[in-house]
């Protein structure tokens, strides 16, 4: 117990927490981005994907949400603690000089706080759906598969009506593609999303390479390669996320 306490109280232990939670979050945003790209395919793709996520077995959806929530809370609390401690340790110069520290590395707390604000907004916007009214977008029937001839197979469910009879009806699921399109057709929202994923890019451009250093998995040869890799990762995540609002905005022209 003493050992754990010593580790958590130390600056290096806190950095391990940042690196582990940062890695989980960085992998999450990559997965999230890849999932989103299904927006560009037939509507069935992303709608089915969303349906699956919403109906994961064994309450896994809430397990994933709980893990992500804990991760982000740890990342934020420890990140803020470290930043406050670092600011305290530094009296500052009359003339500030920077030799090579990247923009991303110098703005971690600011890009992080923008991400926090954005994530909060984003959850109310598309998960809780109480920012914008999407209720006029009709639900669609959930299509579970396609026959060899290319005909959709509509998933059905049995529901018990109030008079005690069972009826079979198609499973209805939100038309996620239409919801995304409606959401992003508000120019202000789209621009905010693009700005936020830009900040995510900056955060990742330092973070993804920094993780390796924090966990001690980097040397002078790999450092420069990993810095490039981090930028590649960051730009890919940015391009993937931003492509959707950008395409909606272009469509409006």
């Amino acid at each position: 117990m003493n050992g754990i306490l010593r580790l958590l109280k130390s600056s290096v232990g806190k950095k391990y927490l940042m690196a582990i939670t940062g890695t989980i979050l960085a992998l999450f945003v990559l997965g999230h981005m890849l999932g989103n790209l299904q927006y560009f395919f037939d509507a069935r793709w992303i709608n089915a994907y969303a349906h699956h996520l919403q109906h994961l077995p064994y309450g896994l959806l809430w397990v994933v949400r709980a893990v992500l929530f804990t991760t982000i809370v740890i990342h934020i609390v420890v990140g803020v603690l470290l930043t406050l401690h670092n600011v305290q340790a530094r009296p500052g110069y009359e003339v500030e000089g920077t030799v090579q520290a990247s923009l991303g590395s110098r703005t971690m707390i600011w890009t992080g706080l923008v991400l926090l604000a954005f994530a909060t907004f984003h959850i109310f916007h598309y998960t809780v759906k109480n920012v914008q009214d999407f209720s006029s977008i009709p639900e669609v029937n959930y299509i579970s598969s396609v026959t060899p001839e290319g005909l959709p197979v509509v998933e059905t469910e049995t529901v018990i009506t109030p008079d005690g009879n069972g009826i079979i009806r198609p499973v209805a699921t939100p038309n996620v593609q239409a919801i995304m399109k409606t959401g992003f057709s508000v120019t202000g929202y789209s621009l905010f999303y693009i700005f936020a994923v830009g900040m995510l890019m900056l955060h990742l451009s330092h973070g993804v390479s920094s993780v390796f250093q924090t966990l001690g998995l980097r040397n002078e040869v790999w450092r420069y390669k990993l810095n490039c890799l981090a930028w590649l990762y960051a730009v890919a995540v940015f391009a993937g996320f931003a492509s959707i609002p950008v395409s909606v905005l272009i469509g409006k022209l």
Partner: protein
């Protein structure tokens, strides 16, 4: 290159003592030879000041050949000035254009309180070394030089770490005032060698806890420390420290190191 004397405007941090607030004061120097060192230029200014009956500017220095780690000036925001891998005592005025305005500040960090003007108290470093930057061996007869075989590449890396002169430029440059480059070099020079193995886990645990106690910031992997280090100590040593600390903490959680 012309050998005519150059003139500079120096904006120098003056501070009476630890508890009095300081400020930048402007001084003019003229007829400075491009071949003179930065510290010689300050010597000339001090001679002038003393001749005028003013108080000389206090700054640390000793060997003036880049090996003792005493000199500690931040020039235009960069510890040890603009030239890479050079202590300020080895910096020459030919690096500064005639007529330049040069701001000179101490090595700033909360754990390095200012003693006077440009002199800071770096004894926090000594306490980090005392916490674990040593090996406890009984001294006896001189051991045979090759009694312990050490691979050349290992010895080279340990030697690179041992090049640290403990000047504190890494702390002064770090935007978090982190002492990880110094501490990791001091741990690494021992942890990499067979003689350092016995106390490796204790060493990293104790040195990091002392470093935290002194109030240094944490490492955000900016790389500013490596960029200003006059001895070219690299972030490799910090990565090694991060590794060693993880292993030591693991052992300390499940077993007993301390």
């Amino acid at each position: 290159m012309s050998n005519e004397g150059r003139s500079y405007t120096l904006r120098i941090w003056r501070q009476k003592n630890r508890n009095t607030p300081g400020k930048l004061v402007d001084y003019k120097v003229t007829n400075i030879s491009p071949g003179s060192s930065f510290l010689e230029m300050l010597d000339l200014l001090n001679e002038d000041l003393v001749a005028k009956g003013e108080e000389a500017i206090a700054f640390d220095n000793d060997c003036r050949e880049g090996i003792c780690g005493m000199c500690s000036l931040t020039i235009n925001g960069i510890p040890h000035g603009p030239e890479r891998r050079t202590t300020v005592c080895q910096l020459h005025m030919r690096k500064f254009e005639d007529g330049a305005v040069i701001t000179i500040e101490p090595f700033r960090a909360k754990p390095f309180p200012i003693v006077k003007d440009l002199v800071v108290d770096r004894s926090a470093f000594d306490r980090i070394i005392q916490a674990g930057g040593f090996i406890s061996v009984r001294t006896g007869g001189v051991p045979d030089a090759n009694a312990i075989a050490i691979p050349k590449d290992v010895a080279d890396v340990a030697m690179d770490a041992a090049a640290c002169i403990g000047c504190g430029a890494c702390v002064a440059a770090c935007k978090n005032s982190s002492a990880m480059l110094f501490t990791s070099a001091k741990a690494s020079q021992l942890n990499r060698l067979p003689q350092g193995q016995a106390e490796k886990d204790r060493r990293v645990l104790l040195m990091i806890s002392q470093l935290d106690k002194e109030g240094f910031g944490s490492c955000t992997n900016y790389g500013e420390c490596q960029a200003v280090c006059p001895k070219g100590i690299t972030l490799d040593h910090i990565a090694k420290m991060h590794r060693d600390y993880a292993v030591a903490s693991f052992k300390n959680v499940f077993g007993k190191v301390l």
